[in-house]
């Protein structure tokens, strides 16, 4: 993967961010901060030249899979799939129906309505176990495909994450990659103040995982870490990110976790995305 490719991705991510803001503004509710922080991670996974081996048939096992454990980041997942043309819905559809009655684009992913999201999440802490289950099912069938999941840093306080940390290492679920969207913030404050997680790298290594610590907005670092897997250990990527990334007045703040922007604020954000698109990386 080359700098040229990353440049190309950098032209698409502002569009994804624009859709995230559009969806949340239109719905007058949703979670902008944690959706914006993981856009590069999703891009590196889902882009056609990216990491995941996809398959149009979502009932097939001949494909890599992705579980969004931090389900409130659903806008980022819908927008990534729509912008990359990976699903039978487009940008108009997601931005106009997100969180509306009867929509497939629920506030949090709903597998029964929209199978491409893989799992029904939104109650934090369960996605790593679900991803582990898919990966173990693949292993039972000698299927070499991988399973990826993104968790939030606040979410990582959940006990079930640490159950899965023990089990995935014990069961040698080496075809599982967990990515931590380490944006440092949750609802009641900064993670370090609410319930600190550090030293994270040492913890996950001690639990028997293959750990990388990277800048979660840097494509080179993201793809390098995603590609470097281990033959026996599950992989953990601690991705340092910025909550609200791409919108100057949201970046790094706790307050934009679950708040919709006003129309004026949204316009300001769109202008910033347009500018980012012109500049590129």
């Amino acid at each position: 993967m080359t700098a040229e490719l990353f440049q190309k991705w950098a032209k698409i991510t502002p569009e994804i961010r624009k859709d995230i803001i559009k969806m949340i503004t239109n719905a007058k509710s949703g979670h902008p901060g944690g959706s914006l922080s993981m856009v590069e991670l999703l891009m590196a996974l889902f882009a056609p030249e990216g990491i995941m081996k996809l398959n149009d048939d979502v009932t097939s096992n001949e494909r890599d899979r992705f579980v969004l454990s931090k389900g409130h980041g659903a806008p980022a997942l819908y927008a990534t799939l729509a912008n990359l043309g990976l699903a039978d819905f487009d940008r108009e559809k997601i931005t106009s129906t997100f969180r509306q009655l009867g929509s497939d684009f629920q506030g949090h992913p709903d597998r029964a309505r929209l199978p491409i999201v893989e799992a029904s999440t939104g109650s934090l802490g369960q996605g790593v176990s679900i991803a582990q289950g898919i990966a173990m099912g693949y292993q039972m069938d000698n299927n070499a495909h991988r399973v990826y999941t993104i968790v939030g840093d606040g979410e990582m306080q959940e006990g079930q994450i640490w159950e899965a940390a023990i089990s995935a290492a014990h069961k040698k679920v080496h075809n599982l990659t967990l990515i931590l969207d380490y944006n440092k913030a949750q609802i009641d404050g900064f993670v370090k103040d609410v319930m600190g997680l550090e030293p994270l790298k040492a913890k996950w290594e001690a639990f028997g995982w293959h750990v990388h610590e990277i800048d979660g907005h840097n494509y080179q670092e993201i793809v390098t870490a995603l590609k470097d897997t281990h033959p026996e250990k599950p992989s953990m990527i601690i991705a340092h990110t910025i909550k609200g990334k791409g919108v100057s007045f949201m970046e790094g703040l706790v307050g934009w976790h679950g708040k919709a922007p006003s129309l004026e604020e949204a316009d300001k954000a769109y202008a910033e995305f347009d500018q980012q698109q012109t500049i590129g990386l």
């Binding site: 029964a112 893989e118 029904s120 109650s123 176990s129 898919i134 099912g137 693949y138 069938d141 089990s167």
Partner: protein
């Protein structure tokens, strides 16, 4: 011969594993008690020991079901349904094809006391849309239910006993269709799980004594109730008594009472006969069953008053 339905489960799953290669089994350090160990011995590569991680087991099994496998997850009913949110979200909401096995139901487990007793499991499971909730009364019925569950697409909760249950001759399992195990009039006894035989014997004795002549049904399906059967029972009998080793709040008795009060053609009395909104405790199974009125003698006594 009295066989515990958990044992019948272990034997049946081990047997059916051959016919259904998609079946896999999970346990959380209770394989010797839930009897899932019988499956593990036969198919070690299709058995997943999860350690004492019920929440992780539930969500992991949901994920595995998304690859086309049919996971059975086993623990005591109290422990597995205690992880309600994982069942509600990872399995229920996702409509994951996972079969949940909750053993050690009710006060009948005895000495271990309240912490190990599945006393609220039916109430919890029955609140989840789309899940099928079943309770077999005999070993044979347990096997039939397991094969049915394998062939049913979607979540199932199966509630099993620690104690042995007597064989009772009755028609094969069909979901919602309660086999009638005794003819009678005016009063219908709806027995469940380990109590069915006591209900039947109590009905015989009450009839012998000329007190009443209850019909007895095996109410093996807690959810969904079958409208035709419920209509038949609520039309033909004036009083309906539902017996269960479970809290009377939200269990089979509640399900029946809800149906009857809403849909029956004529108003009928429904008695929820079970554990009356109290915690369990230690004691011999016999002492506990007696304390809660869940023996033949106590049932006869209750209806002789």
């Amino acid at each position: 011969m009295a066989t515990a339905t958990r044992k019948a489960f272990g034997m049946a799953l081990a047997k059916l594993g051959e016919k259904y290669p998609q079946v896999v089994c999970f346990d959380a350090d209770l394989a010797k008690s839930t009897m899932s160990g019988l499956f593990a011995e036969k198919y070690p590569h299709r058995f997943v020991e999860m350690g004492i991680q019920e929440a992780n087991m539930i969500s992991t099994a949901a994920g595995m079901s998304f690859t086309g496998k049919i996971p059975f997850i086993c623990s005591f009913g109290a422990f597995v349904t205690g992880r309600f949110d994982q069942i509600r979200m990872s399995i229920g909401y996702a409509q994951a094809n996972v079969k949940i096995i909750g053993t050690h139901s009710g006060v009948a487990i005895g000495e271990d006391g309240h912490s190990q007793m599945g006393l609220e499991d039916l109430a919890l499971m029955r609140s989840i849309p789309g899940i099928v909730v079943l309770q077999p009364a005999t070993a044979k019925e347990t096997e039939e239910m397991i094969e049915w569950a394998i062939n049913h697409q979607g979540p199932v909760y199966l509630r099993l006993t620690r104690q042995g249950v007597e064989d009772i001759d009755m028609e094969s399992f069909r979901p919602g269709i309660y086999p009638q195990v005794r003819e009678g009039e005016k009063v219908a006894f709806l027995g469940t799980g380990g109590l069915l035989n006591d209900c039947k014997m109590a009905a015989d004795e009450l009839a012998d004594k000329g007190i009443m002549n209850p019909a007895v049904f095996n109410a093996h399906t807690v959810k969904p109730l079958n409208n035709e059967i419920m209509r038949k029972i609520s039309t033909n009998y004036q009083t309906i008594v539902v017996f269960e080793d479970h809290t009377t709040l939200g269990g089979t008795g509640s399900a029946v009472a809800e149906w009857v009060s809403e849909f029956a053609d004529t108003p009928r009395r429904v008695i929820r006969y079970g554990v009356k909104d109290v915690f369990g405790e230690s004691g011999t199974p016999q002492d506990l069953l007696e304390k809660h009125g869940l023996t033949k003698e106590k049932i006869v006594e209750y209806f002789s008053k």
